[in-house]
Symmetry: C2
Subunit: 193 residues, 2 copies
């Protein structure tokens, strides 16, 4: 097990319905020294790639992306969640379907901050069905920017998001891939990487 898998095994809580709670260190309380290690690891996995900007989505992606960005010496742009499509032409907009909340929302990024010259590393905390990620990729495409890679903390390997994104040819690096969880015993099985 790597450092993130060890931390999930120790402090993650498995709930009914394939819910993995990691709010004590990842997405409500945040262990920034863990994020720093994650940054080191992404820098290793994406070594040699030209990255000019990190793209993430509010709210829980922002902390990880900010600390990771220190390892790449590039700015972070975070997509904002918006109830309405912005029609003034100053924003890139993508639709994101949420299976959890059973609704469609929008993510927006100001056109000022993504350009065809940008080489983007997308960072997020979770990957399950991949809808949020597909929204971010769509926004990068609208900007004419190149997605050089995608760094995820925890991928739910039993949902389809990761497979779809890899099939599309993206370098997707998930630091922990959960293949199965058992709420009764609390056990978590990670994919060998």
């Amino acid at each position: 097990m790597n450092f993130l898998e060890e931390r999930i095994a120790r402090d993650g809580v498995v709930k009914e319905g394939n819910v993995l709670k990691v709010d004590s260190f990842l997405n409500h309380q945040m262990d920034v020294e863990l994020f720093d290690k994650m940054g080191e690891e992404y820098a290793r996995r994406f070594a040699g790639k030209k990255i000019t900007k990190i793209l993430t989505i509010e709210a829980s992606g922002i902390g990880i992306a900010s600390v990771v960005a220190l390892h790449f010496h590039v700015p972070v742009v975070f997509a904002k969640k918006s109830k309405s499509i912005n029609l003034d032409g100053e924003m890139y907009t993508a639709e994101v379907e949420s299976f959890t909340h059973k609704n469609v929302s929008h993510v927006i990024v100001s056109k000022k901050f993504l350009t065809p010259e940008d080489h983007i590393l997308i960072i997020d905390d979770f990957l399950a069905n991949g809808c949020a990620l597909q929204g971010l990729i769509q926004i990068a495409k609208q900007a004419g920017a190149t997605v050089e890679g995608i760094g995820i903390a925890i991928e739910k390997g039993f949902q389809s998001g990761g497979r779809i994104i890899r099939n599309l040819g993206y370098q997707l690096e998930s630091l922990a891939i959960v293949d199965s969880m058992d709420a009764a015993t609390g056990s978590i099985t990670f994919r060998e990487q």
Copy 2:
């Protein structure tokens, strides 16, 4: 001018209605190396204080707080904005009035992550009327935690938030205090510190 004032003078945009846009480096696109310098400066200003946790509020506080936390070697807890009060007793809740959006919202923090043993540094990007900050202080009080200090990036000195918070006896450190702005000329006057 210090490094943040210089950056605001260079890249901030003054709009009608006392609006200061800093979305190119602070709260949409984020210059994490600037945040790192801010962390150094807060570490200097709060030297000698025992800090166990940084508290901030989503979304734009999270990036700054995460990078600043690396200088204090403590975790970050971010308050979430919520439409409804959570009544299951697991959350600290405070009301926050928004003058910008003319509504009342709630901020919530899980009771697991703030305790009477905590010594808190509150970090946020902006201070204007101080409503969000008062919500965070309220939450810290509910937890029985001690607020050791408050670190703000940009304070609008012509609004009352900073004065109120300082009158309550808190050590409030704003790295830039804007005393006046002029949308017609784009000029910004900083308070001497």
